[in-house]
């Protein structure tokens, strides 16, 4: 069998069709491209609601040998945040003491409370008014998670309790 050898024997691929397809793919990726939003987060460990135990300044961790419930031994600091009708902070109470509505005052108060090595607060319970806006709540959470415990660890254990409307502190 004899092969015919023309003058231009080299094979040329038609790239136009491939380019069309590539442009289609490119258009798809450009149109569906959504840049990842730069967001931060506050990591929390939220234990299930348990009975509150008042902090005992004299108690030491592991002192009560009969206590088999690990959560019961966690001393809790109760912060009450009452909200007004517009969802802003009305008042903040740390334990029974009022700190007004400024979170900077709360920051100083918590710092003083938590640096005391005799107090064994490891968990903060936030009693929050049901109407409080999320941005206002985050200001309080921000202050709480910045606090350091006497052992140097960051406070990350928080619990939430909803203050029913009409309850003490709530409008």
């Amino acid at each position: 069998m004899k092969r015919r050898h023309g003058k231009s024997s080299e094979v040329k691929l038609n790239l136009a069709a491939m380019l069309d397809m590539a442009f289609q793919l490119l258009a798809f990726f450009v149109l569906t491209f959504k840049p990842d939003p730069v967001e931060g987060q506050i990591m929390l460990r939220l234990p299930p609601p348990e009975a509150i135990k008042e902090a005992n300044a004299k108690a030491k961790a592991g002192q009560d040998k009969n206590n088999t419930n690990p959560v019961e031994g966690i001393e809790s600091l109760i912060i009450t945040i009452a909200s007004n009708g517009s969802g802003s902070i009305e008042t903040i109470l740390v334990g029974d003491g009022e700190v007004g509505r400024d979170v900077r005052v709360l920051d100083i108060k918590l710092e003083n409370l938590l640096k005391d090595p005799d107090l064994l607060f490891k968990q903060v319970i936030l009693q929050v008014g049901s109407k409080l806006r999320y941005d206002e709540l985050m200001k309080v959470i921000d202050v709480c998670t910045k606090q350091k415990l006497p052992d140097g660890s960051q406070l990350s254990k928080l619990s939430f309790v909803e203050l029913p409307e009409g309850a003490a502190g709530a409008p």
């Binding site: 380019l19 939003p37 931060g40 987060q41 299930p48 709540l137 985050m138």
Partner: protein, 148 residues
């Protein structure tokens, strides 16, 4: 110029190379995770909010909470209680497949990521957190914007 092939033909190889490079770029930066975010929500600005990369080691369940208290997942409004219960069941089964024995009420390894609008009320957020806790979720991340 060769007489027989006088017509001008553009060499498409470089443009094809460039287009393939662009496609590769967009494929690599494509982020399917962003589809779970409801971008209409306005997150609050919090100073200590830090971007944390779990490097895919941790399973995340992203929940978007609107100012009206509706829960949206991948752009769909869902029945919160039923959705969380179903996700907890799936998470338990996945953990079982990995050899972990997680019973009802035990802590689940999944982290709940809550993206809530700054105007949403605490009662709605608390409802979500409480439902998650009832189904064994303990790890939470509250999303916020970092200050500029």
């Amino acid at each position: 110029m060769s007489g027989a092939q006088a017509e001008g033909e553009a060499d498409l190889t470089p443009i094809l190379d460039m287009v393939f490079q662009l496609i590769t770029f967009f494929m690599l930066v494509m982020n399917f995770k962003a589809a779970a975010f409801d971008m209409t929500l306005k997150l609050p600005v919090v100073g200590s909010a830090m971007p944390i990369d779990t490097k895919g080691q941790e399973e995340l369940l992203i929940l978007n909470l609107s100012p009206t208290g509706d829960l949206t997942v991948y752009g769909e409004k869902v029945d919160m209680v039923r959705y969380i219960a179903e996700e907890a069941r799936v998470s338990r089964m996945t953990a079982k497949g990995k050899g972990m024995d997680i019973k009802d009420g035990d802590e689940l390894p999944t982290m709940i990521v809550i993206r809530s609008d700054e105007a949403s009320r605490f009662k709605d957020l608390y409802h979500v957190i409480k439902s998650c806790q009832e189904h064994g979720y303990r790890k939470f991340a509250l999303k916020a914007k970092r200050p500029e």
